[in-house]
Symmetry: D2
Subunit: 118 residues, 4 copies
């Protein structure tokens, strides 16, 4: 099995996979964003008719199917990041800092309200 130990390794493996198939011609940012959103739709499909408690106790087979959908999302995200020159972990650090400002603990505690209505 292909062993992948970091986002950087995944980026490299995906670039090889795409290159072998001459698929880079399809992987412009617009198309990759669409493919990512389509995979997010497939993820939804697994959960749409489940009650919240059922969604927390998936069978082993369901969990593996969900894990593979999540892998699809990650892979298109990593491809898009590669094409745009975005560092996903850096961007996550920046976004987390922004979220700390938008959702201060004392105001956001226990509330799912959007920041502009807090």
């Amino acid at each position: 099995m292909t062993s992948i130990d970091s986002l950087q390794a995944l980026t490299t493996r995906l670039a090889e996979f795409v290159d072998e198939r001459d698929w880079d011609q399809f992987h412009n940012p617009k198309n990759l964003a669409m493919a990512l959103a389509a995979e997010a739709g497939e993820l939804l499909e697994h959960f749409q008719w489940l009650r919240a408690d059922e969604a927390e106790t998936l069978s082993q087979a369901q969990r593996e199917a969900v894990a593979l959908e999540m892998a699809d999302i990650l892979m298109f995200l990593v491809r898009l990041a590669d094409k745009l020159g975005v560092d996903l972990l850096d961007a996550s650090g920046r976004k987390l800092d922004l979220n700390r400002q938008k959702y201060p603990v004392e105001k956001a505690r226990g509330r799912a309200t959007k920041y502009d209505q807090l």
Copy 2:
């Protein structure tokens, strides 16, 4: 700035962020899948009216806005993985192996056809 050097570190930081705000009550798998898909929709919005060539030459401001949407997607994906006990990089390795079988180089080369129609 928060420095994050791996998916594992991001997982830990997000768990702390959520815990401080008592948001775990909202983060069941069903809700996280919805939030992830909603962020994928926001990503689409950046690209929907752009021609393919415009999408490849984003301004610095557009690229940063897109990077922060991508961070949102990654963060909900990491949260979901944490709740379900999924290892995202492992799952990506498994999915990449499956894709190698579904899309053999000699059949898939240069074609965007879905595997069941190759």
Copy 3:
């Protein structure tokens, strides 16, 4: 207020709205599909942190916000149908007939299982 009494009337009004703004250049099927999916993402956002019972008892303000997102989805759907020459009600009749075959009452009753696993 603009009064619209049928999908056909909506189709005409939207074509005028788009024509006045010279937006037809942006409304190719690919872009319209993206815009529709982005609006579906905004719809999700209204429900993502709500429990099932909360989602059934929206406030008047929430319900109106949701209604306007639903209008956005319908409008892009109608635009896409117009561009592709699809009759949405006809297509719905065909799809409903297919669904009757895929989900026979005796097998599907009370079960949310996908047809290929019934």
Copy 4:
């Protein structure tokens, strides 16, 4: 074939279809919003690797497949409207009026810029 000549007729037919299968228990607003977004993801899948010009010249088979996805979206939208007591055509009239204010012809003409940046 089932003939459907209005959104109202579609609403009635769908309610019957759901009732026969005892599926109303799954059709709360949250679940319906997810199912709609999942169908929007399937719509994307048809267009994601196509160039804009290819998306405008679908084969007959592709067009029918797309039409059936669009029917799925419309049907979940109509179900959701039914459950929430929303009149989709009325809401579209209200939204169109709002869009006329947000996108005045003289400012929006020929530009795909979002209203808050016009």
